[in-house]
Amino acid sequence: MQLLGNILYDSVYHTTPILLCVLGGIFAYKANVLNIALEGFMLSASFVAMLVTQLTGSLVLAYLAAIASCLLLWLIFSYMGVTKRGNVIVIGLAINMLVPAVAGFVLQYMNTANLTVPWLNVADLKINIPLIQDIPLLGKMLSGHPITTYVAFLLIPVMGILMFRTRTGVYIRVVGENEDAANSLGLPTNRYKYIAVLIGALCAALAGVNLSLERMALFTNNMTAGRGFIAIAAIYCGRGAPLPSAMYAIVFGVARALAVNLGLFAGPAAALIDIVPYVVMTLVLTAVSVIKRRNNKLRGFQVG
């Protein structure tokens, strides 16, 4: 019972950063500028949030600074990838390398291995929902998370509306599906790509703050540990649609929770659960491709 409760709580806990990255990343995916730099965005927000909390002692400033750092990376990524038309995968990887390098540089300069804020008690950041927290199991699962977790789950319908019911969302998808057509209609395609990446950057900033400040009040370098790529896997599995992608994010969050909790019993083998997202993604991509091309009668090799 205790174990089950822990697994349920951890599922929500581990889903949050992945879910946020997924909900932000789907827009870039739909706009055809795949943002694999989510990992770097997230790490930068984690780092800056902790750094600012440690230096100024203000949580509000920490959130703002984390978002500002992601905005800076957003500008770099979009300028290089959209305006200058560089290879977005390479740019994304470069940002993923740049952020830990800068963080490592600063940590080394400050002569410390990680950032901590002793005066901050993370339990204070957790919100216990009255009534619900008394329900067995369900209460343990739903109650006692920091604010960003609730925001993340509320964002699922919001992002759905943003993508399908607003002009911005529709235009972002148009730009991604056929850029030339969008251009011929006079849509400022680059602007919509910028917006798409921006949504991802803001969500990744929240994910980063959640990861370092809200959870543990601790930053260690490379603490994102591939979560950005799990998010990419979820986005590809859900083909960029908000609800399915979010579902995959939750599945992968549960897998992570299982890996952590079962590690006590299964030992190192539990770490193998961590490969679930990547294997699922490969299988889903294959299945989708097979279905799409089942009736293909064209000879030879086609691109795409």
């Binding site: 560089g86 740019i91 790529f229 083998a269 770490a271």
Partner: protein
């Protein structure tokens, strides 16, 4: 097809390097250090002293191979981003064979290790290659994410079944003496550097002088046209990915047998040799000669990081910052490579004179 213009290519490779060093210098000035002094120590020691240069060549050997592994696929627009995973897989099992299989003959033992490493690299590259060739699955994102899956699997193998019992940290047993490459002289260089050079020459020959090399370029330019003119693109994709995987596997094996001797969780460093290979391929503009130069230069940076740590108070992470900024700028073509700067100025002038004439 217009003839290759070297000017813009060179410019596009050198400008990012200069920009990255410039940004690195600004960062060092900000923390009150002398950037010129740091750069002098970093590059001077690793390029202009005999021992330092040999060490640089030693570390350049696996990098040349990963650089080629990436370039060969990028040139065909196939984008094998899984070089890192293939290298780890190959290196790991080469290390296992090196440690567990007792063969007294050093040459035979090494050959077996290389065979296993190569095979592992090829097997791991074949997964996305088959999916790409027959199911048209985007191999870029599959190869990219499978790296993480591979790292996890190897982490399990290294902490579980293959863990060296007596060691205080997670690692596999050290390879046997018969599988090790020994150092030549008092620097770190081993005969693996010559193996890498030989493979480099073979790949160079393949890319420049054989039909396959020509077909790679053709597929990269336009796969449908290549298919229409009789290139079997499916089969060529499989072949390219196999070669790329084999090169990565050899790089991993060589690094294992000449430098690390056992698999640790930080076997390939941070960023790993596969990612370094991507930078080298970009820096060398996917041409073999360019890759050789880029690998030596890049290796000098890497060995220089240790010198920076030893002789200055600048944190050695500055090198990682410079590296990543370099990749960032390398992703963008500052000058169009088909039409050089002069052509463009000429074209603009013509347009202007045309406009004036009207």
């Amino acid at each position: 097809m217009s003839k290759t213009k070297w000017g813009p290519k060179l410019f596009n490779s050198i400008l990012p390097v200069l920009l990255a060093f410039g940004i690195g210098a600004v960062v060092m000035l900000c923390i009150g250090q002398n950037p010129l002094e740091a750069y002098r120590i970093m590059l001077g020691k690793s390029l202009f002293t005999e021992k330092g240069f040999l060490n640089t060549l030693h570390y350049a050997a696996p990098l040349v191979l990963t650089g080629l592994a990436i370039a060969i696929t990028f040139k065909a627009n196939i984008f094998n981003m899984g070089v890192e995973g293939q290298l780890l897989f190959g290196g790991f099992f080469a290390g296992i064979v090196g440690a567990y299989v007792p063969i007294a003959d050093p040459l035979l033992h090494k050959l077996l290790c290389f065979g296993v490493g190569m095979l592992c690299g090829v097997i791991f590259a074949m997964v996305p290659a088959l999916l790409k060739a027959y199911f048209h699955v985007d191999q870029m994102v599959v190869t990219l994410t499978l790296n993480y899956a591979m790292a996890k699997v190897l982490e399990y193998l290294a902490t579980g079944p293959f863990r060296e019992a007596g060691s205080g940290y997670v690692c596999t047993p050290t390879v046997l003496d018969s599988a090790m490459f020994y150092r030549l002289g008092n620097s770190r260089i081993t005969s693996f550097a010559f193996v890498a050079l030989a493979i480099f020459l073979a790949v160079w020959f393949m890319m420049r002088r054989t039909k396959l090399g020509y077909e790679i370029t053709a597929i990269g330019r336009n796969p449908e046209f290549a298919e229409a003119t009789g290139v079997r693109v499916h089969r060529k994709i499989l072949m390219l990915m196999a070669i790329s995987g084999a090169l990565s596997g050899i790089a991993g094996t060589g690094f294992m047998l000449s430098e690390k001797f056992k698999y640790t969780l930080t076997f390939s460093g941070n960023p790993g040799l596969g990612w370094d290979g991507m930078l080298i391929a970009l820096l060398g503009r996917h041409s073999p000669a360019g890759i050789l130069i880029a690998a030596v230069f890049y290796s000098a940076l890497k060995t220089g990081a240790d010198n920076i740590n030893m002789y200055t108070t600048v944190p050695k992470e500055i090198v990682a910052v410079i590296q990543s900024v370099m990749i960032l700028f390398l992703a963008v073509q500052f000058l169009n490579e088909r039409y050089g700067l002069l052509d463009r100025l000429k074209a603009r002038k013509e347009v202007e004179t045309d406009a004036a004439a009207r």
